[in-house]
């Protein structure tokens, strides 16, 4: 991938806006369309674009497979852990009112939604990157002359 100068430059320029947009979708999900699922996919797209243009080895250096695999589990754990926390605070499983003081259940709901959406986003982004890497690692690397 030593040629394709324009492709590399444009991909590099696009990556920060994609990530920023993913974060916007993640945290603006309470107010408009979007949420963890969509944000996770968009965030993963930035890394998949990087892997497509700069090769799989570069992608592996940026996000080591161990971190991606940990992210898959951590996101699910964050979601389920939020539920277990409210469980131990004496409320129902996943009743976010337990996350704040008893006189302010709405704040607990806000915090709970933020936490579970973060968990969803982390898991979805990690799974998408992991699936892409798993597929791409099996294909022989496309040579520069084949383009």
């Amino acid at each position: 991938m030593d040629h394709h100068f324009i492709l590399r430059v444009v991909a590099k320029m696009l990556m920060p806006p994609i990530m920023l947009y993913a974060l916007y979708v993640q945290f603006h999900g309470d107010f408009g369309p979007g949420g963890g699922f969509q944000a996770g996919v968009i965030f993963a797209v930035a890394f998949i674009l990087y892997g497509l243009v700069f090769g799989l080895d570069s992608l592996r250096r940026v996000v080591p497979p161990a971190i991606v695999r940990a992210g898959i589990a951590l996101g699910t754990l964050l979601y389920a852990g939020t539920g277990i926390y409210s469980f131990f605070k004496g409320k129902n499983y996943l009743d976010y009112s337990a996350l704040a003081d008893a006189d302010n259940p709405v704040a607990g709901q806000h915090l709970g939604i933020l936490l579970v959406e973060a968990g969803v986003g982390l898991t979805v982004a990690s799974v998408m990157i992991a699936v892409f890497v798993a597929f791409a690692a099996r294909a022989p690397e496309i040579k520069d002359t084949d383009w």
């Binding site: 969509q38 497509l52 589990a73 579970v116 699936v131 798993a134 597929f135 791409a136």
Partner: protein, 166 residues
Amino acid sequence: MKLRNLFAVVMLSGVFSLLSAGLFVAMDAVDVAFTEAAVGAGISTVLMLGTLALTHQEEKPAQHSRALPFLVVFVTGAALLYGTADLPPFGSANTPVQQHVAPEYIERTPEEIDVPNIVTAVLASYRGYDTLGEVVVIFTAGIAVIVLLHGSSRPRRREEDEEAET
């Protein structure tokens, strides 16, 4: 129309996905449209292309008769069309869906959850258990793909083949 080039088929399915995302926007389901555009048109197309790189670009000609698949598709399509006759008109406020729990969610969200996007309130809080299930499904699918595909890259397999031959 017949298409044997799988690359074109993947591209067409991506286009179809993007068009249905537009359709969802027109039907006021922006959250669904968002997901369809990101997952259906974006990631799926990339993964399909990744699969094509592992297999072949051309579909092999079918050996068996095409009468049975055609019959199955025809009957299923006819059943679906027959089913749409019973659907309530689009946007009707008197459908059972709109009268069951939806009014309760709309009424209770401002005071109980207080987020402007009621879809998020339903998805993350009222139906948090279902969403946890969805996350676990994605988790399981990701783990399954890693288990199936990880650690068996092609170069290594070739080495094993050579070892087997010697």
